[in-house]
């Protein structure tokens, strides 16, 4: 997997996923359709880091619009046979001290799990989405990759907080911790998700649970039977929103334009046919279908209702527990596969990652597993993961 743009020279520097704008540097979100697009401004999170003296060392490659499993289907990438995300790898190798990524359908979290680094998808509205190449506005969040929880905390402290340029940004201040006392905290493992993972992943989760117990955390298995409907609802919502948000890439204003066209319709169709990959096209078709007049109520409208129900039920669960412990994916490693299978593969893996996107809760990937909390529970998640991390020291 390749990353491009500026050469990484400073080990203390930050890598930025190509789904996030950095002024003057090509930001193509891994897609040919945005080839050559150089933004006029940087994302708010990037600006805040630069103001604090952090250097952005380069743009890290992503799968087109961050829609794939871990970053395998980029127009700019070369698949070397192993499926790993560029940012997660840079952080794992110590070539970047941290990285910023956009979590919309689990790609960043799966990449972090594969490379055994941390990735925090914060509570919706805590980090400005200004400067994110948007796909699904209702659930995407800008998050942080780092080797340890202390670094995640350090970066979050800087990039979080109200931004008037983002209408969904909360008017709130945050104080993060990764060292709060975890003794007596209660964590649950969702049975239905464990059943969907292979033995290697199950073992990973169980070992993690053991480590938590050693730190005084109570870990129990529970049933939460809404995982599948929650995932279907999110796949519908995110596909619809993505279909709408990428419709602006039409070859007229910027980015890629097809060479051959005779009229405006051909300009659109040819530019988009050549500019998007198979997976994005599948998402566009699916999203367009669920929004169509005859299907809206049964698909999109229903998904909005499911979102409400899942939110209520998950809140109930989170009144009893401080966090949920789950697998991040069904497998600990993915073999290369053909893009024609991507839509279904991502859809199925979504069951592990969809709830935080659907209901806006924070999710932290650490040590190859996932901790999910209720809104604004980042410090609890970081402290739980931190307590396990520090056991190895």
């Amino acid at each position: 997997m390749k990353y491009y743009a500026v050469k990484i020279s400073d080990k203390g520097s930050i890598a930025v996923d190509d789904t996030i704008l950095v002024k003057g540097a090509q930001t193509a979100a891994g897609s040919r359709i945005l080839e050559g697009f150089k933004p006029l401004f940087s994302a708010e999170a990037v600006t805040r880091l630069e103001e604090k003296g952090y250097t952005v060392s380069g743009k890290a490659n992503v799968g087109e619009f961050g829609l794939d499993l871990v970053g395998e289907f980029s127009y700019y990438g070369e698949n070397d046979g192993t499926l790993k995300g560029a940012s997660a790898e840079l952080v794992a190798k110590g070539e970047a001290s941290a990285a910023l990524g956009v979590d919309v359908n689990g790609s960043t979290r799966r990449a972090a799990a594969l490379s055994k680094v941390n990735f925090l998808k914060p509570t919706y509205g805590t980090v400005s989405r200004y400067g994110v190449v948007s796909t699904a506005a209702s659930g995407e969040q800008l998050g942080v990759y780092a080797k340890d929880t202390a670094k995640v905390k350090e970066i979050m402290q800087i990039i979080s907080g109200h931004d008037e340029k983002d209408g969904t940004s909360l008017k709130k201040e945050y104080e993060y911790s990764d060292t709060a006392d975890v003794n007596g905290k209660k964590v649950c493992i969702i049975k239905e998700l464990m059943e969907k993972a292979d033995d290697e992943v199950k073992a990973l989760v169980n070992t993690y649970a053991e480590n938590l117990r050693k730190n005084g955390v109570v870990v129990e298995e529970v049933s939460f039977d809404l995982c599948d409907v929650a995932n279907t609802a999110w796949q519908i919502l995110y596909s619809a929103e993505t279909c709408n948000n990428v419709s602006r890439y039409d070859g007229v204003k910027y980015g890629y334009r097809a060479e051959n066209y005779k009229n405006i319709d051909e300009l659109y169709v040819n530019s988009r046919t050549e500019g998007f990959n198979f997976l994005t096209k599948a998402v566009i078709l699916y999203g367009s279908d669920v929004l169509s007049k005859n299907r809206y109520d049964a698909c999109y409208g229903k998904s909005l209702k499911v979102r409400r129900v899942v939110c209520d039920k998950f809140e109930e669960l989170m009144k009893q527990y401080d966090a949920v412990l789950t697998p991040v994916a069904s497998k600990a490693e993915f073999a290369p596969y053909d893009i024609s299978e991507a839509f279904i593969k991502v859809f199925n893996e979504g069951v592990f990652t969809a709830i935080p996107n659907l209901v806006g809760t924070p999710a932290l990937v650490s040590g190859g597993v996932q901790l999910i909390g209720w809104h604004f529970a980042e410090s609890t998640l970081l402290s739980l993961a931190g307590s396990v991390e520090r056991m190895g020291e």
């Binding site: 006029l40 989405r129 948007s134 699904a136 209702s138 969904t168 619809a240 419709s247 204003k253 367009s288």
Partner: protein, 468 residues
């Protein structure tokens, strides 16, 4: 058989806000060149997010209050998807599910027109075609609009025209829209049925009409076309969208409803639902201009002429100046004359229009009060007004500097009168022989000699005394 024409209107009105609906770009009226008022947000670049302009909500609510609507306390935005080069995001942000105002009512003559809803939305850009090429101008993109949708309550072209005329004066006087050329655009839904029938006929829609004259022509043509089709079976009526051609005076089919695009509306997650609480609503209500009919009545009661009322109602800026001056304690009728006659006259001499008037209510009221209380005479007042309008003079200082308020004692006036009488023997003789008119000429000379100082009534009576 007699037929009844049934018409419903969708009217788009461009709002007079300083910035666009979701970004801080100035409105397109500020633009001099194509793409002058454009930023990454309104040109649809990735990474930009819409941020709601509060003023748009306030103006839409004000419009709703003027049209007796229910104001929604919870209002949301939706995305409407379609591809066109003048639409940079390939979707328009509009309101489908929770519009800002519903269920209004406005009277046009004897007819009550029900307002179904008012919703907020963004305008699209403009395409300019030159030879082989088409150019896109995004200046108008994201300019705020309200769309006012009526029920099918109109029964004639005249009613439509008077409704639109009323909307225009209302929105101008309310500071909601300048309603300039093209800033008010209508889609006209029209059908025809036999008189007394309850069922609606086949409906056609004439899109994008802006001139009142063309609207009237289009409705007349289209309703006649429907009547002919029913009465003489000249053609089969189909539900469709039509375009009015101003040159031929005819309408032409654009596309069939059946094949019309599915706009795939869905909620816009980037714009949080807007909650209009009691406090905000009260604030908007208290700032709401008095309804146009009430305002005209108040002017009428104050003795302002119908012609003047007409000029005032259509002009928010000028009627506000008048209201402010009245609020500062000046007489309404006099003040109206000062503004509409004196100010307008002074501006006209300089080749300007009344709308170019640049005077504070305080300055104007100072002048009017000085005249009202007899401190200076009206001619002097006008002199001050000229100095204020043309040279931005301070009225009080100007009066002092030119001693316009100098109290002239009778001796000083008499001295001038004697001088004038001596110089105008012929006129004096004429007057004494019974020619009343001659007095005016002598009086005029006195006034000139006094350079506008002194109370004209006093001068006149002294002059008459001298000539007896």
């Amino acid at each position: 058989m007699n037929y009844e024409v049934v018409i419903g209107l969708e009217t788009h009105v461009e709002l007079s806000t300083e910035s666009k609906i979701f970004c801080s770009c100035g409105g397109h009226s500020a633009a001099k060149e194509p793409n002058d008022c454009v930023c990454p947000a309104c040109s649809g670049m990735p990474g930009m997010l819409p941020v709601m302009n509060k003023r748009v909500v306030e103006l839409a609510v004000t419009a709703g209050l003027m049209l007796n609507c229910e104001i929604s306390r919870y209002t949301t935005f939706d995305k409407k998807n379609y591809y066109y080069p003048d639409l940079p995001c390939a979707y328009q942000i509009t309101q489908l599910n929770h519009p800002i105002c519903t269920n209004g009512l406005v009277s046009v003559g004897k007819r009550d027109i029900r307002i179904k809803q008012i919703h907020m939305e963004e305008d699209a850009g403009k395409l300019v075609h030159e030879g082989k090429f088409s150019f896109v101008d995004f200046n108008r993109t994201s300019v705020p609009l309200i769309e006012i949708v009526t029920q099918p309550d109109f029964r004639s072209a005249e009613e439509v025209v008077s409704y639109l005329t009323k909307l225009k004066s209302m929105f101008r006087s309310g500071g909601i829209s300048e309603c300039e050329e093209g800033a008010m655009r209508c889609d006209i839904n029209i059908s025809v049925r036999p008189e007394g029938s309850e069922e609606y006929g086949v409906r056609t829609e004439i899109k994008n009409m802006s001139s009142l004259e063309a609207i009237e022509k289009a409705i007349r043509y289209e309703s006649q076309r429907h009547i002919d089709a029913i009465e003489f079976e000249t053609e089969e009526l189909v539900q469709e969208t039509r375009r009015f051609d101003d040159v031929s005076g005819k309408t032409f089919a654009m596309r069939n409803k059946e094949t019309e695009a599915d706009y795939r509306y869905f909620p816009d997650a980037n714009i949080m639902p807007i909650i209009i609480d009691d406090e905000w609503l009260e604030q908007i209500k208290s700032a709401k201009p008095v309804a146009i009919d009430e305002k005209a009545e108040a002017y009428r009661n104050a003795g302002i002429s119908e012609k003047e009322i007409e000029m005032l109602i259509g002009n928010f800026k000028i009627s506000k100046l008048l209201d402010d001056v009245i609020a500062l304690g000046c007489n309404a009728k006099d003040s109206a004359a000062w503004i509409l006659t004196d100010c307008a006259g002074i501006l006209r001499k300089g080749g300007l229009l009344l709308n170019d008037l640049d005077i504070t209510p305080e300055a104007l009221s100072t002048i009017i009060k000085q005249v009202e209380t007899g401190k200076i005479n009206r001619a002097a007042g006008r002199k001050v007004l000229i100095a204020v309008i043309e040279d931005k003079a301070d009225p009080t200082e100007f009066i002092k500097k030119n001693s316009l308020d100098a109290k002239l004692d009778e001796n000083a006036i008499n001295a001038v009168i004697e001088k004038v009488i001596a110089a105008n023997e012929a006129a004096v003789a004429d007057y004494k022989s019974g020619k009343e008119k001659a007095l005016q000429a002598i009086f005029g000379s006195c006034m000139r000699e006094l350079k506008g100082a002194g109370d004209p009534a006093v001068i006149k009576s002294l002059l008459e005394k001298k000539l007896k």
